[in-house]
Symmetry: C2
Subunit: 417 residues, 2 copies
């Protein structure tokens, strides 16, 4: 069968199944999630065996260590997958929630009802746990999904898919509601992102190359996470201890996450007092510092170039710039940032208020570490990703981000005058 026909068949089946999932009551969805979790735990050995085959093939193909690390499953990560599904089952069902139902002068009542998007296409790389997470989130939010994982994880993903189907069947839901693409043909991605009639939204999860390909070629709306060039600005009215603590945590608690600070901005009046303390911490932790001229006059470090201001290092490297004050900091963030997460450290009420309003990022923070930008920390219960888009959903996307709202109108024979 050619790949176009194969994908069209998946799309048609997903569209048909999406109606059943949208109608499914909370108990049915939770039962499916609980059975999936139990099946994954029960089949741990099967999953590990499938994963071992993927790992052997990946090693033979010479894939790099970072990718092998993301691909690997173990008893703990399998237990984590099952636990994640149980947590999704425990979250409130967003579907059908009616809000703002109000009487209008015409006599009708008008409100909004939260509804699934329909069919969600998920495109991801390496990590097999995304198969379970994304399937669970799509199901709980009332959506059907077509999941297309990386070819290097095909055996692991198919083993997880069997558990997912078992859960759906146990709840009387169509197994085609959550389909994991069984081909490694790269053309499947091209089909998935152009099946306008069958897929309502695409969620790509992976490196910049994947996201940019999807952005260029998709004919369907995309909820994407491009990259995180996050800033902490230390205002001259900052509490120095808080500033040091936040600058440390935002950079060094984890280097590879998108909410890690990449650029530290300091007001020139406070830089001499605070930069040496922060630099000592970075030096002790092996973080390479790249600074502007003014920063380098306070602490010896490498010189930053313009490329540094737009770079997401995902590594123990930080760029440091001394600025004239908050307006210059906001200008820097809005010019070089990626509208992901940016924080100010200040004790000044008016500046905190202005920073919150004027920084155009998906998360804006006062006196808190950028590392808090996360669905669990925000109370979403789980996240399918972090959006750097401006329409639909910004920042961490949980169940609600996989839904939209339709209008409901209640009347009693009302007609328009």
């Amino acid at each position: 069968m050619d790949i176009k026909t194969y994908m069209q068949d998946r799309g048609r089946a997903a569209r048909a199944a999406s109606r059943a999932v949208a109608r499914a009551d909370t108990n049915a969805k939770n039962r499916a999630l609980n059975v999936m979790a139990a099946a994954i735990q029960r089949d741990a050995d099967k999953l590990l065996a499938a994963n071992a085959e993927d790992m052997a093939a990946a090693r033979a193909a010479g894939l790099d260590a970072a990718l092998l690390d993301r691909l690997a499953l173990n008893a703990k990560s399998i237990a984590g997958m099952a636990e994640g599904l149980l947590q999704i089952a425990a979250l409130p069902d967003p579907v059908g929630e009616i809000t703002d139902l109000k009487y209008r002068p015409s006599g009708i009542q008008v409100g909004k009802m939260r509804v699934p998007l329909g069919v969600i296409g998920i495109i991801y790389e390496a990590r097999p746990n995304v198969t379970a997470d994304a399937a669970g989130l799509c199901l709980k939010s009332g959506n059907a999904a077509i999941l297309r994982g990386g070819s290097e994880a095909i055996r692991s993903n198919q083993a997880i898919a069997a558990c997912v189907r078992e859960g759906l069947a146990a709840a009387g839901l169509p197994e085609t509601a959550l389909q994991v693409i069984a081909t490694t043909d790269r053309a499947a991605v091209g089909e998935l992102i152009t099946m306008q009639g069958y897929v309502d939204v695409i969620v790509p999860r992976g490196g910049k190359g994947l996201i940019e390909r999807v952005m260029n070629d998709a004919r369907i709306p995309v909820i994407k996470h491009l990259h995180g060039v996050c800033h902490v600005y230390i205002d001259d009215r900052a509490d120095v201890d808080k500033a040091v603590r936040i600058a440390d945590n935002a950079k060094t608690s984890r280097y590879g996450t998108c909410n890690t600070m990449e650029t530290l901005l300091l007001a020139n009046n406070i830089a001499p007092a605070v930069l040496p303390r922060i630099a000592d911490i970075y030096a002790a932790k092996g973080v390479e510092m790249r600074g502007c001229d003014a920063a380098r006059q306070i602490v010896a470090m490498n010189a930053a170039t313009d490329v540094d201001w737009v770079t997401e290092y995902l590594a123990p490297i930080i760029s440091i710039r001394v600025v004239d004050g908050m307006d210059a900091a906001i200008e820097h963030i809005n010019t070089y940032g990626s509208q992901h997460t940016d924080a100010i450290v200040t004790e000044d009420y008016a500046r905190a208020r202005r920073f919150l309003r004027e920084v155009d990022s998906s998360s804006v923070m006062v006196n808190a570490s950028t590392r808090f930008a996360d669905g669990f920390e925000y109370g979403l219960g789980a996240e399918i990703g972090i959006s750097t888009d401006k329409i639909h959903a910004r920042g961490p996307v949980g169940l609600e981000g996989l839904t939209s709202q339709k209008w409901v109108v209640l009347g009693d024979g009302h007609v328009r005058g």
Copy 2:
């Protein structure tokens, strides 16, 4: 200057201006809107003169009567434009609203702040009043806008643009915040919908040809209104008087609007009682009926074909189908409809509840005319259009639909453990 350079310059200026508009306080935006309204009223003669030139050119080019009708301005429509801007000024400012601010176990407070989208590209045809309406809505929602009207309305639109600029200047806002494209070169549209760095969302307003071109070629998210194939389903537990009243109003109160019913569905148990009464009304008003076999056995009418079920007539024509009951009606609507607006007429509580949940349209109604699907009727105060998309905004889009929400995090030196 070539068209690409011209549009890039507009885009760059809009992006720069968007920051000032996003920051602008409510008073400044309202002052701009009030001055625009006054200028439009004061310049009514200039607008009429410019419009007369557009009309003469359009007649000379042989444009059809419907288009000439949409293009024409008169004293009343100019007063309506000014009044519309005053109404937008009177609406609450959506920008900066913070909701759901809650303490999390980590000690941070997390909430959402409503923010502008940035730069909105509006592409429209014929009606010059869209220039004022769209400019006003974009400004009040804190967005910059690039407006590209039809070439047939270029003189009228430029005359309105002068009033818009006067309002911006009076409020100390950059005149480039709301730019009306001054070229009739069709390539301008192609540029506008691909300037990813400068434009955040495209709102096309016009016929199916325009929308489909934008959908195919845009590299920017689109909030689109494709078409409205709206249904009224008369359940066998309907109150017959309400059914007749709603079927009449939904079809005949206006024929050319997108929320007009195009297909009437009737449960087979009630069709003999209700269809003759409705058919009498349609016949008296000159509405052509096209029915399925069962409908034609009750009332003589033309035969409907499959094409009728997917057709937005925008004319005094209606298709009529007798169905087995509510499930068949929902199946028909989800199969042939355009997910715009669909209504059930029933006195049955359980069926009303199921219809609301299971019909996947942007507006779903019980015992009310589809003609209520409208920003003013819903209390939005104004609308930029009606979205038939599933992400971001569904149904009537007002000020809120031109915004999104970012996350705000308030801490006191908090770091992530």
